[in-house]
């Protein structure tokens, strides 16, 4: 859960970045935060990551009151989150596997678990073939999928995605949001900051618009993508996605590679169903 209570942020230069903002995002929500450059979106992200502190008001994330959080507790708090950045922020000297495994290393997870969990998550984002590749050998879309895999490998309560589609091709943007939607279906709260209105319009959901440091709009809207699939098939596709992610939370036994379904497969199924039904292209 994310809660901002009358939060204001004024930078040292006297600039008011956020002005008395109150906001509550419940567990399991998927919310888009939109707004033009300089509106206060980045400040909000920095607040939620405990990079900066609010000048006034309370910021509560996953049960942590960030204003009262001691510096030594910040790592513990951040382990309850997953981050996806516009510029991917993968460690260039580590392979795809190592980048994702690093999060579990930080948690001091057992080696046996890391060896099962990481390939599994890599499979979820459809990058099995790139397991041993370095970030500079991947396309933008692939890098972002690695970033998403890294964000969800520790099964976080909340994933914060800051312009995750900002550096990738428009057609891949939909794929990335689909992926995040699929993760959200499993109960993970997703907060996605974007300025791509087409994307927001397409997917719909809760939309929070920040302008000049204030929330000017906060509503749940229906996305246009519902037109892509007849209602029954959409429900079926969502159910498939849900089944797909059912296993991903925390496997107990050994995982066989063939047991791991690919999100790509479901997305492909959704797209082909849409085409078959003559739905509008994205």
């Amino acid at each position: 859960m994310v809660e901002l209570q009358n939060v204001s942020v004024t930078y040292s230069g006297g600039v008011d970045a956020l002005n008395n903002v109150s906001l509550k995002i419940n567990d399991g929500d998927f919310a888009f935060v939109v707004g033009s450059s300089g509106a206060g979106k980045s400040t909000m992200i920095k607040l939620l990551l405990k990079e900066i502190d609010a000048t006034s008001g309370n910021v509560i994330v996953n049960g942590y009151n960030l204003g009262k959080l001691k510096k030594r507790k910040i790592p513990e708090f951040r382990r309850t989150l997953g981050f996806v950045f516009q510029d991917f922020r993968l460690i260039p000297s580590m392979t795809v596997y190592e980048n994702i495994a690093f999060v579990l290393r930080v948690l001091d997870a057992p080696l046996k678990y890391i060896r099962k969990r990481v390939p599994y998550v890599i499979g979820l984002v459809g990058l099995h073939a790139k397991t041993n590749s370095y970030p500079d050998e991947l396309s933008g879309g692939e890098k972002q999928r690695v970033a998403i895999a890294r964000a969800l490998v520790n099964d976080p309560q909340l994933i914060i995605a800051d312009e995750p589609t900002g550096n990738i091709d428009p057609e891949l943007s939909y794929e990335i949001v689909e992926l995040l939607k699929g993760i959200n279906d499993q109960g993970t709260t997703i907060l996605m900051v974007t300025h791509e209105h087409d994307l927001v319009r397409h997917f719909g959901g809760r939309i929070i618009n920040i302008t000049n440091g204030e929330i000017v709009y906060d509503e749940v809207v229906t996305g246009t993508n519902c037109d892509l699939l007849p209602e029954v098939e959409l429900a079926q596709a969502m159910e498939n996605a849900a089944n797909l992610h059912h296993e991903y939370s925390m496997p107990d036994g050994d995982i066989e590679e063939n047991d791991i379904p690919y999100v790509d497969d479901v997305i492909a199924a959704i797209t082909s169903t849409a085409k078959e039904n003559g739905g509008a292209e994205k």
Partner: protein, 301 residues
């Protein structure tokens, strides 16, 4: 943290050397040069000091016993002098030896000795060297106080000069070593900062995924430790090679050089172990802590 976690971090540190080999090589070179500059300066100072002390030891005290002192008493005096603090060597010079020496010294007037047929008029004596030339005067006084001692002569001017020389050498060498150490620290600091700066994003990413400061620093510590260790080892072998060459050249000069106290140059075998340990220890510690300190600025995310 589990043992596997510690092992992972140590491995990461070693892997990082290879992954960032250019920066690691730069750090290695800077550490190597710094250690060599400071190390060779310190060894040079030690040798200068040893040479001056060596010269001081050549400054003998000539002790004369009263002429009619019986041999038993001379032997007792010998023992008494030996027991005085700061005495290094005591060499007995008998009446006969003293007479022969005098004959050699007065080579121009050998005729005089034709009229002397006995050496009994010569006093028994001792040639005494001291451990610390700075306490020469006090030692001479102590010898003079012994009964039946006719005189004890030394050259206090030489001792004074050598003491002054040592003071100047210590000051100059000390200032040079401190200056070199400061320059080295600046060089090392800048290199490690540059090395860490090139990986600042990596550090920030680690912070975002919840890594603690110590988790991030440990690989940097290991990386700096290993690089510093090899720099220390390199500096030791270069010092060894250079030192041995110089030592052999000096020793080959033999008697000529001995006049300047070069006979007191310390053989490398005597300092090999402390020198090696100092290089390895200082190299490793400077490498490790230099690296860790440089990460501090980037950890505040």
């Amino acid at each position: 943290m589990k043992i596997s976690g510690i092992k992972y971090l140590a491995n990461q540190g070693i892997e990082n050397i290879w992954k960032n080999k250019m920066m690691a090589f730069a750090t290695f070179c800077v550490l190597l040069i710094s250690l060599l500059l400071v190390g060779i300066s310190i060894l040079f100072y030690f040798n200068m000091n040893s040479m001056i002390l060596g010269l001081g030891n050549q400054n003998e005290i000539a002790v004369y016993v009263e002429t009619d002192t019986p041999q038993e008493r001379v032997d007792e005096i010998h023992e008494q002098i030996k027991n005085i603090e700061n005495i290094d060597t005591v060499t007995y010079i008998s009446k006969k030896e003293a007479y022969e020496r005098m004959q050699k010294q007065i080579s121009q007037g050998k005729e005089i000795f034709e009229y002397i047929d006995d050496y009994q008029f010569m006093p028994d004596g001792f040639s005494v060297t001291v451990v610390n030339n700075d306490q020469l005067r006090a030692t001479v006084d102590a010898i003079t106080r012994i009964e039946n001692i006719q005189s004890a002569d030394s050259s206090p001017q030489v001792a004074e000069f050598l003491r002054e020389l040592r003071r100047v050498v210590t000051l100059v060498a000390g200032a040079a070593i401190i200056a070199l150490a400061v320059v080295s620290m600046i060089m090392i600091s800048n290199t490690t900062k540059a090395s860490v700066y090139s990986r600042r994003e990596e550090i920030q990413i680690m912070k975002y995924v919840g890594a603690t400061d110590s988790f991030i620093r440990t690989p940097f510590f290991v990386e700096g430790l290993v690089t510093g260790f090899f720099s220390g080892a390199g500096a030791f072998f270069i010092t060894w090679a250079v030192y041995r060459s110089v030592y052999n050249v000096v020793v080959a000069q033999g008697m000529l050089i001995n006049a300047f106290g070069a006979g007191s140059i310390i053989p490398f075998a005597e300092i090999r172990i402390p020198c090696g340990l100092a290089y390895l220890l200082i190299g490793s510690l400077v490498g490790a802590f230099g690296s860790v300190i440089s990460t501090r600025k980037h950890l505040d995310v």
